[in-house]
Symmetry: C2
Subunit: 416 residues, 2 copies
């Protein structure tokens, strides 16, 4: 049977009505059964994953790619655990934030509802398949999943599991679609199904996101990259400044909320940079420094404009001394990726000005950029981070997969 994305998307739209009507208990029961089924079927899933691993080795995938692809009994237990954490999240659907009374007696409120059908396009890790499906179901949405070709057998085995449970509950299995077609053409067609699909979320490299943005007729949540800045103001507390720098750069450099550029106020450079150099040394951080800061570091390289645009994602940092607060703001506004920017300062006028003048999705005062994460900011499970301003901006929780409709209660009112 050949796969047709247009037909599948229409079936997903129909199934979306059903999942939107499930109440919290029904959704949680369904998710609990899905979690158990994944654990109970781990043999079949591991067998399918083995095929992907073999194919990956034959294709010459790197060790780190193969590791991302690999499932183990422990990793399957982790997937089930992640689904149970999603069960524990508050259900955003049905909430009416406030109901205002109009002068003519109409009551007007906004009720949170699912978006409808969400398409996710992503790369290697098979756990994303199960967890994305769970997040969409919990928020009352149908989902269409298009994982990477490397993980296709694992993804289809997980889909098999989910579909069995959904059917056993007497529900429409089209609420979760795993696309079996791994060609790029299927993505191009998917991106035109605007009558059936409400939102596309691409997760992966910049190339994938750019491709989806340029070809989609459906709204896209974008996360291009995280070039996070740390500005050490002249009124910074020295200890906090060092800790926030080291934590932001080195605690997990592959994460998008890690620091990439350090800006230091010139009046504080003499005090701060020698300690910064000492603190970064044992972590073997490669430094790209400006003319004014290069001599504080052993083996530093002169920074180019490209360095200030770079998302290194490893033990590497760009450093610049700025002559003033305004120069720091201007630098950030020029090079921002709209992800996360941090100021370290004890002066509240300056921290308030920083918050006002920087409109990145997360603006922080005296805290590590590594907190820029849905879980850390209190959103529960994280769906991703949006660096485009429409619909969602910054770390996204479940409510980013919803919208609000107006509800109006009258008693026969008509308009004059």
């Amino acid at each position: 049977m050949t796969f047709n994305i247009e037909t599948s998307a229409k079936q997903a739209r129909i199934a979306a009505r059903q999942v939107a009507q499930l109440n919290t208990n029904e959704k949680n029961q369904l998710l609990l059964k899905i979690a158990s089924s994944i654990e109970n079927n781990s043999d079949a899933i591991l067998k399918a994953n083995n095929k992907d691993i073999d194919a990956g080795k034959a294709k010459g995938l790197s060790e780190s790619m193969l590791d991302r692809l690999l499932l183990t009994p422990q990793r399957i237990a982790d997937i089930a655990h992640a689904i149970k954490e999603i069960i524990a999240l508050a259900d955003p659907i049905g909430e009416v934030a406030n109901l205002i009374l109009r002068p003519n007696g109409l009551q007007v409120g906004k009720m949170r509802i699912p978006l409808g059908v969400i398409a996710m396009i992503y790369e290697a890790r098979p756990n994303v398949t199960a967890e994305s499906a769970a997040l969409c179901i919990k928020s009352g949405n149908a989902v269409i999943l298009r994982g990477g070709s490397e993980a296709i057998h694992s993804n289809l085995a997980l889909a098999e599991c989910l579909h069995q449970v959904i059917k056993d509950q007497g529900l429409d299995p089209n609420m979760v679609t795993v696309i079996p077609d791994t060609s790029r053409e299927v993505i191009e067609k998917l991106l035109k199904q605007r009558e059936s699909i409400d939102l596309v979320i691409p997760r992966g490299g910049e190339g994938l996101i750019r491709y989806v943005t340029e070809h989609s007729q459906i709204p896209v949540i974008q996360h291009f990259k995280g070039v996070c800045h740390l500005f050490i103001d002249k009124y910074a507390d020295l200890d906090k400044a060092i800790n926030i720098l080291v934590n932001g750069k080195t605690q997990r450099p592959s994460a998008c909320n890690s620091l990439e550029t350090l800006l230091v106020h010139q009046s504080f450079a003499d005090k701060f940079l020698p300690l910064a150099a000492k603190a970064l040394l044992p972590k073997q951080v490669k430094v790209h420094a400006c003319q004014q800061s290069i001599n504080y570091f052993d083996n530093a390289i002169l920074a180019t404009n490209d360095d200030y645009h770079a998302e290194y994602l490893n033990q590497e940092i760009a450093i610049k001394v700025v002559e003033s607060f305004d120069a720091a703001i201007n630098h950030i506004n020029e090079f921002t990726s709209d992800h996360t920017e941090v100021i370290v300062s004890q002066d509240t006028s300056r921290t308030q000005a920083f918050i006002k003048q920087i409109n990145s999705s997360v603006v922080m005062v005296n805290a590590s950029s590594r907190f820029s994460d849905g879980g850390q900011l209190g959103l529960g499970s994280e769906i991703g981070i949006s660096t485009s301003k429409l619909h969602a901006y910054g770390p996204m929780g479940l409510s980013s997969l919803t919208t609000e409709k107006f509800v109006v209660y009258g008693d026969g009112q008509v308009r004059d």
Copy 2:
């Protein structure tokens, strides 16, 4: 000097930073001066408008098109008045809805900020130029305006006025751009400026909106059409039902929130339809009725499937008798334009079920669909109605031109 949209969009992005930093007083002062300047320059504006009217007559525009295009001293006073109403609106920018405290002592909130650069693409009426500019300035955004070619002289005269005031205040005139190029190519190029423009709002016919949706790499707020349904349940109050029908269909049939389809529960048809026929008769409403309802009306025509899709926008209605509550829900879900749907019923279980099962942007109980409007629902001035679910859904007020960033206040916290 030839107009280059890429350059203009980049200049608008730079100006956007400035307008985002203006406080409420500064924005209101600027708008007040703009309102005065438009009134003071009414001679020049009327003269420019005269050119448009002459060109429109030569082109053979219809009387109603010419009327929409026409400016008079009174209409110019109305524009100034509309700007003063925008001044009176609350400034959404800077508001932090709630600041939660995380277990590690971080305070996390979301602050409302402007989107940045908004592009509006619209047709005839020149008042949209001034009012859209005012709404964008009030919400801290820069704006790029592309009006219809018919109104180009009027639009440029208004732009002249605005630019003079903005420059007199020492501000960057690029915060408002009126595109002098009336070709379609300029729209195509505009829709690719995703590095500079954050949102596109097309206002006009379905063709324009479809064109923009299909060609845009920038998020689009869509309003395709309003096929609003009224469902008269078997437990409806007869008087309310008649009033809501007559008001919804005939009070201003050209508005998108007017009724287009009436659904009547079969157990109530005998009671309701004779009165409905009597009430619609003096308004000369043309009726497209189903087999079961056609005999209640003089001169009714048998409704086709197309009638249930139709947005008549005049004294014309499609009518269908449904056998059950569920049949009404299914009909609406099949034919909905996601605009506004109304139930008339005294039974709260059924009104609650209607609210739950219909996810149009506005769902009403016992009230006229004509209330589906930003002003009527308490949003202040209306920017439009979105019938797509992303970012904004339903009538949009000023806050639809904004987004939220996370603000995080720490005291040196780092991540474990």
